[in-house]
Amino acid sequence: MRFLFKTDYEDDIRLFPHSGYVVSYGVLLAILAIAPFVLSSYLVSQLVFVCIYATVGVGLMILTGFTGQASLGHAAFLAIGAYTAAYLQQFNVPFPVYFLAAGLLTGVVGALVGFPALRLQGIYLVIATISFAFIVEEVLARWESVTHGNEGMRVKTIQLLGTTVSRDSPGFYFLCLGFLILTILGTLNLLRSPTGRAFVAIRDSETAARSMGVNVSLYKVKSFAISAAITGFAGVLFAHKLSFISPEMFTLQLSIEFIIVILIGGTFSLHGAVLGAIFLVMIDPFLTYLKDDMPGIIAGIAATFGAGKDTAMRIKDSAAAIASANGLKGAIYGLIIVLFVLFEPLGLYGRWLKIKLFFQLFPLYKRATFKRQKIYVKSERNR
C-alpha cells in the first residue's frame, strides 16, 4: 500500500496525486492511440460510440451526479446539437464554427430549461425534463423547413483543415477521443475550483449552500448550461457518426440510456461516466447475440436432457419469440437499473474501488468496510 506524504497545498490540487497515476493513464492513452490501427473497424466504431456516450455521461454527471438535478431530457440536448450542425452544414459553414455554434446554442437552451427547473426538485424535475424532451422531439418532427421533419437530415462528412475526416476513419476516432479527454479535463478543473464545490454544496444541502453565500439559482442554471453544452457538442459528433439524423433517434429511450450510463458507471465520479458508456455500448451487441444464438443453445440443452426433436423445436421457437418480443430491450434496461441500484449503488466504479482495496489490504480486507451505516438520523432538515 502506498502512503502519500503531503508537503504542499499543491498535493491536494494536482490532478495526478502520484506518479502511479501518470504511468497508468499514460499506458491507457497509448493503448487508445494505437487502437484504431490494430482493432477491426467494427470495434473502432464501437469505441467511437463509447467516446460519444462517455462525453454525454460526463455532461449528465455534472448535472445529476455533482449538482443533484436529475434530467431525463438529455436526448433533446443531443438532438439540438446534432440538428444545429446538420442545419448549418447546408450553408457550407466550416466544421469548427458549427461545432462551437451547436455547443453554445445547446448551452443557451440548457440555461433556459434551467430557469423553470429552479423551483422543481426530484421527481418533478424529472417530469419537467421529460416534457422538455417531448417538446423538442415534436418540434423536430414538425418544423419541416429547418429539420425536414420525419424525413430526417443527411449529415455530410467533416471537412477539417482541408482534409476529409470520414466517419469510419481513425481521424474521426481521435476527434471523438480528443474531445472526450478535453471534456474530462475541463470538468476536473471545474470540480477543483469554487464552481465545482458550489455544485456539490447544492447537491448535499441547498440551505447550507445558500447560507454560505452560494447563489443557488445561478449555479443551478450554470450547471444546466454546462451539462447541455457538453451534450450539444457530443450531438455534433453523434450526427457525424450516424451520417443521418431523424427525430425518432432522440427519444425517451436515449435519455434513459444516458441515465444508465451514469447509474451503472457510478454517480459521483467521472470514471463512472466512462465505465457506464463502455457497459452500455457493449450491452447492445450482447443482446443481439442473445437474440440470435440463445434459442438454438436452449434447444440444444433441452435435447441433451432428452427432449424429443419436436419438443426441442417448440422450445426453440418459443425462446426465439421471447427474444424478439417488442420492448424487451427496455425491460432489460429497467432490470439492470433496478439490480444496480439495489446491489451496487456506487456502480461499476464503486465495485472497482472495492476490488482495488481488496488487493491493497489483502489479507485484511473486511466485507463490512463498505457497509452503509447510519451514524445518526437526520430530522427536520431545512430544504
Binding site: Y9, E10, D12, I13, G186, N189, L190, R192, S193, P194, T195, G196, R197, A198, V200, A201, R203, D204, S205, T207, A208, A209, R210, S211, M212, G213, V214, N215, V216, K222, F268, I375, Y376, K378, S379, E380, R381, N382
Partner: protein, 252 residues
Amino acid sequence: MSYFRAEDLSLHFGGLKAVDSVSFAVEKGEILSIIGPNGAGKSSIFNLISRIYPPTSGKIFFEDQDITQQPPYEIAGLGIARTFQNIELFENATMLSNLLVGRHRHSTTQLWQELLFLPSVRAHEKAHRRRVEQVIEFLDLEAYRDKLISGLPYGVRKVIELARALCSEPKLILLDEPSSGLNVEETGDMSFWIRDLKTDLGVTVLMVEHDMSLVNRVSDRVIALNYGKVIAMGSPSEVQRHPDVVAAYLGA
C-alpha cells in the same frame, strides 16, 4: 447606532405567531445568547436573519444597512455566517471541500478561468487553502482533512460546521445550539472556542442555546423568549432570576 439590530420583527404562519414583534440589538464584539423553551421562536429568528423565511413584518439592520430584502445568498457576502441546529454539512464531500465552500463568498474567479484552471485560479485556491488551514488549526481539526463528512461522528461534525462558518471570515456569526448533542467535554471545548471567537478573532456572536451552563460561561448578555415574544433581557444572572423566565420554564 448598534452593530446589528432587529426592529419589530414578526413571522406569522397563518394564525401562529412564531416571532411576534421582537426587537433587539447586538453590539459589536459581544456574545448575545437567546434562550427560551422549545417553540419559543429562537431558531425562527435565525432563519429570518439568514433570510430562509421572509419576515411578515419588521426590519433587520446590519452595520446600518437594511438587509431585510437582501437575497439569502448575499447575507453571507455581508459577513454574516451561521451554523444549523441539525447540522447542514455537505455529507458526501470531504471536510476540506466543506470548509472551502465556506470561502465561497471570497471567490472571484470566472467560469472560463476555472475550466482552464489558469495560474490565477491556482493561486486563489492556495490562498483559500491557507485561510482554511488557519481555521483547521484554530479548531483542532487536523485529523479529518480528507475524511468524508458522512463517516464522521456527531461531535466532530458540530465543530466542522463552526469551522465552515469561520472560513467565510464573518463579522457576525449565528450559532444555532452549538452544544446540542455534545457531551460535557465537547461542550467545554465549544465554550472556549466561542470565547476565543470574540477575543482572538473579534467576531460578534449571536447564539441560541439551551445549555444554561454554557450560556453563563460565555454570554455577555442574554435575551429570553417565550411564545415569540421577548420576556427578559440583560446579564445572564439577571435573566435567570427574572420571574417571567422562571414561569416560562417551570410553569406559573
